[in-house]
Amino acid sequence: MKIHRLLIANRGEIALRIIRTCRKLGIESVLAASEADLKSVPAKLAGMTVRLGNSAPAQSYLNIEHVIAAAREAKVQAIHPGYGFLSENVKLARACASAGIVFIGPDEQALEGVGDKLRAREHAVAAGLPVVPGGPVADADEAVALAKKIKFPVLIKAVGGGGGRGMKRVHEPAEMKHQAELAAAEAEAAFGDPRIYIERYVERGRHIEVQLLGDGRGEVVHLGTRDCSVQRRYQKLVEEAPAPNLDDKLRAAIHEAAIRFGKGLKYRGAGTVEFLVDDDRHEFYFLEMNARIQVEHPVTEAITGLDLIAEQIAIAEGEGLRFAQSEVAFSGHAIECRINAEDPLHDFRPSPGTVTTALFPAGPGIRVDTHIESGAVVPPFYDSLLAKIIAFGSDRNEALNRMRRALASTKIEGIETNISLHAALMNGNAFIQGGVHTSFFPGFLEAYLKTAGDRVLAGGVK
């Protein structure tokens, strides 16, 4: 079925990103916007805008009844959920099915199979993928017993979780009771599911993921790796494609493992299989699968020349995969920096408000995905992502150089941002060398804050 009119149940840069592809494909886009977003840039540029509800996410972007009502009012054939919010919510997929609306995403079975992180682990084991030692625990005593078996430190994770929320690192048995109870309470509050599990904490690991596309009938292709190891509190800050300094054999094994996992689910649409990679030992472990388009998808688009949103729509229309694995060609290197409304000098304090000036880089190899322009309002209700700056080059060095220049010419005033932090990252030896571990950022930040403090004393920054 050809989609002529599509509802975007999301906001911010991803909403605008989807609007752009819709326009390219001749699809009429309808933006479902909360009260706070009714006059946003995506609302101005969408074909039409429908009011989704009040500003609070629970009354708009997280409200299935409101999303379905908006879709009915706007008479759309399909809903694109973007990322976050309801993007991986099986109840939305079901509500779409009963309303006769196409949900642009995986089928209900796949959403359930990967949404429950323990079931995803079971799928991984069944597909022959290595998983990090660990498993489900009913209470703190069980957690201590299992942690002793798999060795401290361990990570407590939420079974219903994802996106790094609710994770706790525990170093010794004495901390376990408190942390396990805290994690279960947080998981209950955030995901409505108090179940937790534990996994061994791998200190010298890299976060490497594989982008997949599946037709829902068992055909799955991979679009290469992304390295997202630069993280603060399990939130990604910088991503790049392909993962640098990775042994060819190990890379091929990771690609193959991701495909096997996707085929096991007869996966439909765009999805990402995340791995923890120990490149010293040439080992890797399955972490989880994200059943949606991801924030960092542009780096994959840059090295493959594909439009992943267009492929998602084609798969949803029933076209299946429009190319074979052998037709996927990789070239060059791409890096993405997430520009957030937060102040690194003050413990990353969120900085909502009105953007008075927004100047972004332009030029060869530079792409900016943003919903921000001068005068745009950043509301306090949603996440702090303002823009993604993507730099592409024929090799990693060229991409890095372009990113440095791009960051230097980016100017956002009126609110605080993390642009200077990114500039420091791109000029730091560890990142330049490539292949940092997920434990890299805290140490980097400490050094950054020290020199930033010195600059403040010297009157260098405000």
């Binding site: 009714l38 969408a46 969120p350 332009a362 306090p380």
Partner: protein
């Protein structure tokens, strides 16, 4: 029509070879300014269209202007101290839904006491009393959106506590 990122890159390539240092392209939807900046180029975009609503918007009393016009409690002549949120955001009186509130009217607090939570951009930030004393009034409702200049609570400072 709208210019795609590819179009902008193409225009910029043409400009690179020219002696121009600024170009303004205006379509029905957007005005894009491309300007030389040092070695590179910057772009500034301004959307020119208005949202095209599926159905006319109705004034919603629970949002926007109605909330903003709420009177600020400012008077401190009575010796009370106003407690403001650390950031604009949504105010919560309890650590999680269903739990007891951090404080009630009559609660004794010190400067570091947490009196509530402000949720801003998905992060939970503690709101602290900032002064030692007794809570005499709770001005904000649970779940209410608070601006930085709006009063959360009023505290009667303990004798000798700095105000």
């Amino acid at each position: 029509m709208e210019l795609s990122q590819e179009d902008i890159a193409e225009i910029q390539r043409l400009l690179e070879a020219s002696s121009y240092s600024e170009l303004i392209v205006e379509t029905a939807r957007q005005r894009i300014t491309l300007r030389r900046a040092g070695d590179g180029w910057i772009q500034e975009t301004q959307s020119l269209t208005h949202p095209n609503y599926v159905s006319p918007l109705q004034d919603d009393p629970s949002s926007g202007a109605a909330q903003r016009s709420r009177a600020k409690v400012a008077a401190t002549e009575d010796g009370l101290v106003n407690v403001f949120p650390p950031l604009p955001g949504t105010f919560y009186r309890a650590p999680k839904p269903g739990a007891d509130p951090f404080v009630e009217v009559g609660s004794i607090v010190n400067a570091d006491s947490v009196i509530g939570i402000i949720e801003t951009m998905k992060l939970m930030n503690p709101a602290r009393a900032g002064v030692a004393g007794t809570i005499v009034e709770i001005c904000a409702a649970n779940g209410q959106l608070m601006e930085e200049a709006e009063v959360l609570m009023r505290v009667r400072p303990q004798d000798g506590a700095p105000t």
